[in-house]
């Protein structure tokens, strides 16, 4: 085919893309976005499928059989979880106006400038080889299509002006500049670009399916035919044997993990899936549509690979080019051209998005932080920076593509598409801890993230690019074989003596392990600044903040309106600045409050990244950062709510049981609290009653000198007896306090219960006689030795006998007391013949201040504390008290106390 035709068709295609993008941008401006659509979103995610997929999968299948699969399995496995993870990242990024993966990491850890720098450098070093292989793919396919062979020799030996890759790099740079830097958008959204990318996704899928159908059903009679033909050749049959092709579970695991992280964290994937996302709910459709796309684009990989191996048994063409060389070998030039266009679109879409994403990072995280620290920047406050930023972006785009071209010339050509791609994946995987840790683990610190990234990246450099450089330049075979300075355990391809693993798997293992460990332990041993804490909370608890529950102002800053206006004019241009400030201008304020300053910072962050925006806003605002203590106070308030909702979410039985226990404990505490409150109320009431009489009567006597002596005598008697009552009450409360507080001071010793009861009985005998109460005491066993406290036990006996005296029948009182041994217990029974206690009241008489009162007899004398104290003493002796009674049939109190030893 004429090179001219290929070139013209390629340019026509690019022009078509550009028109599409232009149309898309116009629709965007009119507010009728083409890309606010979940199908377009899912298709644009297929920017994941690059020339590597398009050409490289077949190449890898031709050498390792099913070895091409893990790169697509990973994304397919992770896609169902996007609703949780990716959606969270999108929502965080929208709320923070995040513009790139580096910006995301820098924002999460307190808008750190240094983290932005490190993440950007990792992305640049990781992605440039990746871009270079796209250049390689395009130029190889171009060479194949236009010249039908590599007649010109390898690219590295050609002068650049004869090298198709050079012109492709230049063309792509021009195209990307046109697409990506037309204006500075505060949200970094390029609707037209996304539409073009989605279109390219459709095109590359259709082209690949077409060539697949041509090979499978045109050259052969379907899948069965191809596989049967393949199996007849030993060299090809080997590919179906997983073991022999060197792919084991360990390798698969790492490839799947790397691709899982790549589909979310590669700068271009992050850009398309997060920054360009117009609606987080689009993720839902993408999470099944994208895996479906991957399935379709992989169906024909094995058949094409087998057909290629059968067709070119002597290695006339690189397996990476089978997709193209098969139709060419059969004279299907138009088909080959269509396939070439498909390959072209898979490479261009990747390069454009990746380069735009990188240029945003470079300008926001490398150049701007330097620029805004410069004297000249601060001295020329009037100049418009928007144009300058776009200029920086354009220069970055060209530089990145030139670097990629340089890498391609120096190294890239010696490696297959897949192996270079995997090196990039491993670099990007270094973002795993800081990104995913960052959205689920609040404790992660800036220092932890920085240390983890640097450590992981260093290991990556040492185990992957460094040895490829050595191999490429043939500098030192000794270094690879024997390690630096002859230290074998430092050999890059078997670090720490690791054997039997592919370069990629061992590099991924060591870099991620060291990265993760560093991230974790440094985070544990370092502290966060208030800004870090607030950002960490915002990222981890985004749904809560999104729900609008909590207002969050970490910085209470003020700035003059004039400065704010000037700043926005410089970075965003006067029109956009005016639009942004319009809602605030009405009040015509002289100074901007914290709310406005935050609003401006967030919008500025969209244009220049969070870290730079923070520094710039810092330069014009007076800052009164929230203190750590205040911060904690705010967090403390929200913490309970979070914990509660977490407990609800976890439905495990154990948690529910714990919750139940906590509830019970809480209820008990409440009950105790109520009891205490009741106690205090009752005690004060009981104290007030005698004081009332004492106060009123003594006042009367003071103020009435003419009081008759008889009346004076009566009043004084009342005062004396009420004082007595007061004293008694106070003593009882003190008793109770003593009983309840110092258990330790109780010294129990063997005492004779029989003796104690006899003494109490004798003490009260006179009173019973005075009241004409018949009484008797029968002691059936003695001495009834128990381990006890003589004074307290005496109090028990006295209390119970006094009660019996108080409540027995008024005219014909009768009290009988029995003391006996029943089994291992000493039993004291005190029976009266009073009104008795109704069954419904029996359970409450042992409570504090309960007195079963009745209208006809009036209020019984006493505080109501007596039985309560009695019961407390008995339970201290491991005994129990109970009551046997019915209304109008008297009452018997029964006290049981364990005997010291069975009496002989």
């Amino acid at each position: 085919m004429e090179p001219g035709i290929v070139i013209v068709i390629s340019f026509a295609y690019v022009a078509l893309l550009f028109l599409l993008a232009y149309y898309g941008d116009n629709r965007e401006k009119q507010g009728r976005s083409l890309v606010n659509n979940s199908t377009i979103y899912a298709l644009s995610l297929a920017v994941y499928c690059t020339a590597w997929t398009y050409y490289g999968s077949v190449g890898r299948a031709a050498t390792t059989g099913l070895g091409f699969l893990p790169i697509y399995l990973g994304p397919a496995i992770v896609a169902p979880f996007w609703w949780v993870v990716l959606r969270k990242i999108i929502i965080i990024s929208k709320s923070q106006h995040i513009t790139s993966i580096a910006d995301f990491i820098s924002s999460r850890y307190g808008k750190s400038t240094w983290l932005g720098v490190v993440a950007t450098l990792i992305a640049i070093f990781g992605i440039i080889p990746y871009i270079s292989i796209q250049l390689k793919a395009i130029s190889t396919s171009f060479d194949l299509l236009a010249i039908h062979d590599n007649q010109l020799g390898p690219h590295s030996e050609r002068p650049f002006y004869q090298d198709s890759a050079w012109f492709i790099a230049i063309a792509l740079a021009a195209f990307t500049v046109l697409f990506g830097t037309r204006h500075l958008d505060p949200n970094e959204r390029h609707g037209g670009l996304v539409a073009a990318i989605a279109f390219e996704s459709v095109l590359k899928l259709v082209a690949f399916l077409t060539v697949g159908i041509f090979v499978t059903f045109g050259l052969y009679n379907g899948f069965g035919d191809i596989f049967r033909s393949g199996l007849q050749q030993a060299g090809i049959a080997r590919l179906f044997d997983l073991e022999a092709s060197g792919i084991n579970g360990w390798e698969w695991f790492w490839l799947v993990l790397l691709s899982m992280s790549a589909v979310m964290l590669l700068p271009r994937q992050f850009h398309i899936s997060v920054v360009e996302n117009t609606n987080p709910s689009h993720v839902k459709k993408a999470s099944w549509m994208f895996p479906l796309y991957l399935l379709l684009i992989n169906i024909f990989v094995l058949p094409i690979a087998i057909a290629g191996l059968l067709e070119f048994p002597n290695g006339e063409f690189e397996p990476d080019s089978f997709v193209l060389s098969l139709p060419l070998a059969h004279g299907k030039n138009m088909l080959a051209l269509a396939v070439g266009l498909g390959g072209f679109s898979s490479a261009t879409s990747m390069v454009i998005v990746a380069v735009i994403a990188l240029s945003i990072m470079i300008s926001n995280h490398l150049v701007l932080p330097l620029l805004i620290r410069q004297q000249s920047f601060q001295e020329r406050p009037k100049s418009n920076l928007g144009g300058r930023i776009l200029g920086i972006r354009r220069i970055s785009i060209v530089t990145v593509l030139l670097l990629a071209y340089g890498y391609f010339k120096a190294v890239g050509e010696q490696y297959t598409l897949v192996s270079v791609g995997l090196i990039s994946f491993t670099a990007i995987a270094q973002f795993i801890p800081s990104v995913f840790g960052g959205i689920f683990w609040k404790r992660a610190t800036k220092k932890g993230a920085l240390a983890g990234l640097v450590a992981g990246f260093a290991v990556w450099v040492y185990t992957l690019p460094l040895p490829t450089m050595f191999e490429a330049t043939k500098l030192s075979a000794a270094f690879l074989e024997h390690g630096p300075f002859g230290l074998e355990w430092l050999r890059p391809y078997s670090l720490f003596g690791m054997q039997g693993s592919s370069h990629i798997a061992q590099a991924a293992f060591w870099s991620l392990l060291i990265n993760l460990a560093t991230y974790y332990f440094v985070s544990l041993y370092t502290t966060q600044t208030p800004l870090e804490i607030s950002q960490a909370n915002l990222f981890v608890d985004i749904y809560k903040y999104q729900a609008g529950g909590v207002e969050y102002d970490i910085m209470r800053r003020q700035a003059s309106m004039q400065d704010i206006r000037m700043l926005l004019n410089r970075f965003l241009g006067e029109t956009r600045a005016a639009t942004l400030l319009a809602p605030y201008e009405q009040a015509n304020p002289q100074t901007a409050g914290p709310e406005l300053v935050n609003y401006v910072e967030t919008n500025l962050a969209g244009a220049i990244g969070a870290a730079s925006a923070k520094v710039i806003i810092g330069s014009i605002s007076k800052e009164e950062p929230i203190s750590l203590e205040e911060m904690f106070k705010v967090l403390e308030q929200t913490k309970e709510a979070i914990q509660y909702s977490k407990a609800l979410e976890k439905k495990s039985a154990e948690l529910e049981r714990t919750t139940q226990q906590l509830k019970q404990a809480n209820e008990q505490l409440k009950e105790l609290d109520q009891l205490k409150a009741d106690f205090i109320t009752t005690v004060t009431h009981e104290l007030r009653t005698p004081i009332t009489s004492i106060k009123a009567l003594s006042k009367i006597m003071l103020e009435t000198p003419s009081l008759p002596p008889a009346q004076q005598q009566e009043f004084l008697n009342i005062v004396a007896s009420e004082s007595e009552r007061l004293t008694r009450l106070i003593n009882q409360v003190l008793d109770l306090e003593k009983l309840q507080s110092n258990q330790a001071q109780w010294e129990l010793e063997p005492v004779s219960l029989a003796e104690i009861v006899e003494q109490a009985y004798l003490g009260l005998q006179q009173l019973m006689r005075d009241r004409n109460i018949r009484h008797d005491l029968s002691v059936m066993n003695r001495p009834l030795a128990v381990l006890g406290h003589a004074d307290y036990l005496t109090q028990v006996a006295v209390n119970l006998i006094s009660n019996a005296i108080k409540f027995c029948n008024e005219t014909e009182g009768r009290i009988s007391i029995r003391l006996s041994q029943q089994g291992p217990m000493a039993v004291l029974e005190i029976e009266d013949n009073g009104r008795g206690i109704a069954a419904k009241d029996q359970h409450m008489i042992f409570e504090k201040f309960t007195q079963v009162s009745d209208v006809h007899r009036g209020k019984p004398q006493g505080s109501g504390l007596g039985l309560f104290i009695t019961q407390a003493i008995i339970s201290r002796h491991q005994g129990r008290i109970s009551i046997r009674s019915a209304l109008s049939q008297g009452a018997t109190f029964i006290v049981e106390i364990p005997l010291l030893a069975p009496s002989e």
Partner: protein, 135 residues
Amino acid sequence: MLFLRRNDMTNKKQTKVLLVDDEPNILVALEFLVKQEGYQVWKAENGEQALQTMEKERPHIVVLDVMMPGMDGFEVARQIRKNRRLEHTRIIFLTAKGTQSDRFKGYANGGEVYLTKPFDNDELISTINDVVEFG
């Protein structure tokens, strides 16, 4: 209260006061104070007795304790307010229960004044005088 019409000060002798408290010693003090001021005094030691006495004597003022065995003071007040023949009876609560919610309950159940124990002799008497004069 000042804008209300003053009652005739001379009819103290005809003004009946019922004192209700389950503490006999407090009743002794109350009785002395109120009699000294010139009112006619009746006494009751619980709610039921109080309601019986009121049916008979129709006192102008009841000085009512709250915590009593059987029917409590709030209940007594409710019974008084239900009874059309006692609609001119004014209730003064005199109780050891002093929380805000107790006071509220007292007013809600038809109490005119709410005093707490231990009370001040002069304050009690001037309160009774005020209620007689203005209310």
